[in-house]
Symmetry: C2
Subunit: 464 residues, 2 copies
């Protein structure tokens, strides 16, 4: 690893030299996890480079290849698993200047990876009355490239499913890290090679995404004294084929009272809260359905309310923002990502609640998977020890609820604990020296790893 | 019933006096059914009036009320069950002049009932790049009012569900037939009073419908040698949350070869045919899915083909157009409407095929119901006798497949054989004399009817 030579060769590019900002550009939201906080807090890049276009990306990759310098790509660094953190140091390639919306067509957009989700939506809306189908709740701060390379789904997934589902990404243009970097265009089955691969096997330089119509979504809060009734309502709503929604989230009591400051004055401690986004022309249908559950209370709608202080956008209570809000009030809170899959979702949810509440409080996101309505749980966990956290994971798994562990920094441990062969195979050809975001793909480092314990990347920087 | 007095009082309106055209305006597509053909062929109105606006509708209803003249409303008369046929004679009120698109907004349109579906779509597309969510396959000839009052769903229902589902109609403005007709506005739960009520309890004078984006749908035909594989593919496609479709239809062999003249040269007798409409920006996802079934063959796509003669629009092969095409070739063909509901749809379909093919050939439409993908069967039946037809219905019902009998002219017999209390109750207040489309609501005429035999309206015109 010859850092100085690489830096010198790249000196004509936009290189960030300030130590504080190198430090900032080497971190993401890994500190959500007490486990990752313990392992990654010291990690820092040697330098940060900010390419302005694909040609400069290629230059960075080529030079770093030549000097054996690891390259970790950064969108906005809002990931939760240390995905964007340079475990071995080296170069952080920050894509903030590659933010152009290149073309908006009916049903699709072509964009550079560094564009913020909110800027992308603004451009699509202004030019065509459209918006992206789904976004991470970090819409205001995250990039589209980071969402595709590091995220999974979010606001909109209750209707459109997850990013990995066929049709939710149309095309990715990818640059490899070889002696002579290649430019590849992926569609269809090939997309799985690099989407949600943490930038370990290629850098995405252009993205084509499907669009949906942009509506003035009505954002709402509904309360219920009965957690399961609230959960069933969210599910029933999502099963109404004629009612168009973009978000349906359930927060077990007392999450709203304890952690949602602007909502707290309007709820009681035993209120389960439902957060919703409904298309304006579906509001009649929505209210008809709501009227069938007289025990539910509509306490807030964004287009018509008398709250002294607006709660802000409702989706910033959902997805991983729930954890963020809880953490701000109680730093001992962390979370789990659980799949409550169809058709047993309601049973599993109830069972976990009986077994673990209030140590674990349900936060459920309605999700479409394979044409069925189910739930993703981003459960809030009152953290005590790593052992207990592992135990809680095991209780879920034993009951049949798959857990995507957010307290791990590798692709496999955060996923289904299996190697994605398509990603591994592509890494072999696209990153022969293993310099792209090292330490994140166990299959590359240690094919025989047995997942008995948390993986620890051998070449991770030593803590001081 | 004082016809002459009513005609005289309405003489300043557009009244159709020509016998041939009165006869034509008294008929619909009832002749699809040999059973209905036998019962209804002679039915004819005394006169036809064509109001130009709501005020004239009110005038017609008021005058006919005064003179005890039955009023049967007509959109375009493309219904299949004699819905628009004046069983007792009297007045046919034809809404062809009430065809204005009043306002197009994001996500919704306000329109008069006599507007043709195709004209409505054209206006929405031109003004806003939108279109209606679903339409009857008689898009080119049927009215939006007739679709709502007499139809159930169609092209688009594979994504949005049926007309009766919450959110698929926003608002209906309705005029009653009382001494002083009232104008009512229905939303939410109230919509069920008059939608799919055949105009038996109120006349719809204005409609507010939700809209979806208008895309240049790619229309396709795919063949398979394996019927169940084709059916599973259609289902799998509809379960892909990220692939936007508007139509997925399966035709058992040899329907395509025998009845689809322009398709026949491109298929063999043992080819099951799938008809599809996919959004252009979902074509990559679609082709990826298709690629996973190498035994399926894409033989036609509307945006790129080398067929000498275009097959025309693919949706005019689906829904009830299938029956029409079959009938034209073999007049002994009729059909059934079957619900192959989730989760047993594939089993039921296979079972019925084993029991009844080729006397009954499957024609399946993918349909969303309660958030699940299932199938509506519009099975083609080689008609022999009414007894055998009833037997075939019974075989379906015994296996657990609900049949909506298209060989009956009443609401109940074409539906779930139960009285819709909301419709009956509303008829009591909106049509106290029972003059609106008489003979179509058994619950009104004969509350104790036991459905053992086909209902026969006692006051039906005598055949000459
Ligand atoms: C409060 C909060 C809420 C969140 N909510 C959600 C949510 O709803 N859904 C969700 O999926 N995630 C969520 N996340 C995680 C994260 O914010 C999102 O995944 C986000 O979209 C990542 O974008 P980013 O620009 O910050 O990516 P980064 O964190 O910068 O990068 C993410 C990963 O992608 C790689 N990468 C970035 N750009 C490229 C590129 N061009 N080519 C190749 N690799 C690249 C990085 O190396 C890294 O591994 C949330 C996080 C927080 C803190
Ligand atoms: C080839 C073919 C294909 C078809 N495909 C489909 C399909 O895919 N889906 C489907 O649902 N149907 C289908 N149908 C049935 C029919 O075409 C549709 O339901 C159509 O939308 C009816 O519209 P219309 O204007 O012809 O109505 P009409 O036949 O004129 O009327 C239908 C019923 O509604 C009543 N009515 C009409 N206007 C009003 C009003 N303003 N107020 C109150 N009552 C009123 C009439 O009295 C009658 O009872 C098909 C029929 C054929 C022949």
């Amino acid at each position: 690893m010859n850092i100085d030579a690489a830096k010198a060769a790249l000196a004509h590019l936009d290189i960030d030299e300030k130590e504080a900002s190198i430090r900032a550009s080497s971190r993401d939201f890994f500190w959500y996890s007490p486990v990752l906080k313990d392992r990654l807090d010291h990690v820092v890049a040697d330098f940060v480079v900010r390419p302005r276009n694909e040609a400069e990306v290629i230059e960075v990759l080529k030079v770093c290849y030549h000097h054996d310098v690891p390259v970790t790509t950064r969108g906005a660094g809002t990931g939760n698993y240390g995905q964007a953190m340079p475990l071995e140091g080296g170069c952080v390639m920050h894509l903030r200047w590659m933010d152009k919306v290149k073309a908006v067509h009916p049903g699709r957009v072509i964009v550079e990876p560094g564009c913020l989700l909110k800027d992308l939506d603004a451009a699509c809306k202004e030019q065509s009355g459209q918006e992206i189908r789904m976004f991470s709740s970090t819409w205001a701060t995250a990039t589209i490239g980071g969402f595709i390379a590091g995220g999974s789904g979010g606001v909109g997934s209750c209707t459109w499913g997850s990013l990995r589902d066929l049709g939710n990404i149309i095309r990715l243009r990818v640059v490899t890290m070889e002696e002579e970097p290649r430019i590849l265009e992926f569609r269809g089955e090939e997309l799985a090679r690099v989407s949600h691969a943490y930038g370990t096997n290629g850098i995405i330089t252009e993205i084509e995404m499907p669009l949906a119509p942009a509506y003035d979504w009505v954002e709402m809060f509904v309360t219920s004294k009965d957690f399961m009734a609230a959960t069933r309502f969210a599910q029933d709503l999502a099963n109404e084929d004629g009612i168009l929604i973009k978000l349906a989230t359930v927060f077990e009591a007392p999450v709203a009272k304890d952690y949602f400051q602007r909502v707290a004055p309007h709820v009681e401690a035993d209120d389960t809260l439902i957060g919703l986004m409904v298309a304006p022309h579906s509001m009649d249908g929505f209210q008809t359905l709501l009227g069938r559950s007289p025990a539910l209370n509509l306490i807030y709608r964004s287009d018509d309310h008398d709250w002294d202080r607006s709660p802000g956008t409702v989706f910033e209570y959902g997805w991983n923002h729930t954890t963020l809000r809880a953490l701000k009030v109680d730093p001992s809170i962390t979370y789990l990502q659980v799949r409550f899959g169809y058709p047993n979702q309601l049973d599993l949810i109830e069972k976990m609640r009986e077994a673990l509440s209030p140590e674990v409080l349900h936060h459920l996101e309605v999700l479409k998977e394979g044409g069925k309505v189910m739930f993703a749980g981003l459960s809030l966990v009152k953290f005590t020890t790593e052992e207990r956290l592992d135990e809680i994971v095991k209780i879920h798994e034993d009951a049949g609820a798959m857990v995507f562990n957010p307290h791990r920094y590798t692709l496999e441990e955060g996923g289904r604990q299996t190697v994605d062969d398509r990603q591994l195979k592509f890494k072999r050809e696209a990153d022969p020296k293993g310099l792209l975001n090292p330490g994140k793909m166990i299959a590359w480092d240690d094919p025989d790893f047995d997942f008995a314990e948390m993986y620890s990347y051998p070449k991770i920087q030593a803590a001081e």
